[in-house]
Amino acid sequence: MIHNVVYDEEDIDTFLELTRKIDNTESKIMKKLLSVQNRISLIANIDPQELKAIIYDLKFIKYDKKDLVVDQGDISNAIYFILSGEFSVFVGSHKVGILKARDTFGESAAIFQEKRNATVICSSEQATLLSFCIDEENMDFCAPALATLYKNLAHQINHKLEGVNKTLIQIT
């Protein structure tokens, strides 16, 4: 016999009050994401209602200089959009690039569920990121969003490859 806990009205009120607070926080951050949606190339042009359904764990995160954002080899499904500040990217101990405001990172590891292929560290005095995750389980119900997301991702990868090609041409 499992003895279930019985909650009274006062307990229910506490739960409802907490839920209201959580919903308020969530919707505030979602509003912020929607206001910058088209600046984040990965999620640009996705219907806002569908975006709400496939995005979760939205957070604003503040970093100080030398703070670690992602560690190479780490498993995490968060995608980051830089609102302010600068971040250095390292592969092993080699610095391979700098990311600035309006840049996005972490999307490949998140979508392909792979380990992080680089370490990202805050290099400005202070920086702010918008972090979010994509709920693939909800993707079945939001097929157009999925299509746009992958199209955006392909576009982004293509853009990065073009950059690499240009660098290679310059070197050779």
Binding site: M1, N4, E10, D11, D23, E26, D57, S131, D135
Partner: protein, 235 residues
């Protein structure tokens, strides 16, 4: 004996065996859905041990800390978690469940077992009785093997479903437990004082407390690795 009969008998057993879990899941899903509780997609389930240790620690500081809704939710989460662990145990004990619960409650197997026992008891068996005993023995073993195959597949599937559902219920309840923990911690003068001495200030949270714990835990120990995993959830 048809496949349908075997499946029906096993299904009836599973209905009885998981009876309490059906009720537990119904009550909890109804509670979460009817009150429209927030169901986080992050894995807060992972933070169970961290929260339990923190609650124990804070209760040692101030025994009045755990009361009201927080005390009820804490009890609720512990009860559900125990059931979750029992389900995990089931996965390792399918053979034992089959032997000790299913076979002992199956009229067919009980009847066969009784017949076999009677023949065993007989001191001098005629040639015909000896032959019957061997046939019955063989038949018993064969039936047991067939039933066991169906039984394992069925019980594992149901057990797995309950594990996933309880995990999801716990994820929501642990998320609320986390919120209530810090709400009640701030109401306790002793705990608030303790948190101020740690320089966690008025806005103490699991995130800040984990970061503090990481600083005082032996790096690369199991607990350190566990806290790091928790830190990623609150990041």
């Amino acid at each position: 004996m048809t496949t349908k009969m075997i499946e029906d008998e096993i299904a009836q057993f599973n209905d009885r065996f998981f009876d309490e879990y059906f009720e537990l899941v119904d009550i909890n899903i109804d509670f979460i859905e009817s009150h429209k509780l927030y169901q986080p997609k992050q894995n807060y389930f992972l933070t169970y041990d961290f929260l339990m240790t923190t609650i124990k620690h804070f209760t040692n500081l101030d025994f009045r800390f755990i009361n009201g809704t927080f005390e009820k939710l804490n009890r609720d989460v512990i009860i559900i978690h125990k059931q979750y662990l029992k389900l995990l145990e089931n996965e390792k004990n399918i053979s034992k469940i089959f032997q000790e619960y299913f076979l002992k409650n199956s009229p067919l197997f009980q009847e066969m077992f009784k017949g076999l026992m009677e023949l065993q008891k007989s001191v001098a068996l005629s040639e015909y009785e000896q032959e019957t005993k061997e046939i019955l023995n063989e038949h018993y073993r064969e039936m047991k093997a067939i039933y066991y195959e169906y039984f394992t597949a069925d019980i594992l599937l149901i057990n797995k479903d309950f594990i996933a559902t309880l995990k999801s219920i716990l994820n929501t309840k642990i998320y609320y437990l986390d919120k209530l923990l810090w709400m009640y911690a701030k109401e306790s003068e002793i705990i608030s004082h303790f948190l101020r001495t740690l320089k966690l200030g008025e806005h103490a949270s699991s995130k800040k407390y984990i970061n503090y714990r990481l600083k005082v835990t032996l790096p690369y120990s199991d607990n350190y690795k566990y806290l790091q995993k928790c830190a990623r959830i609150y990041k």
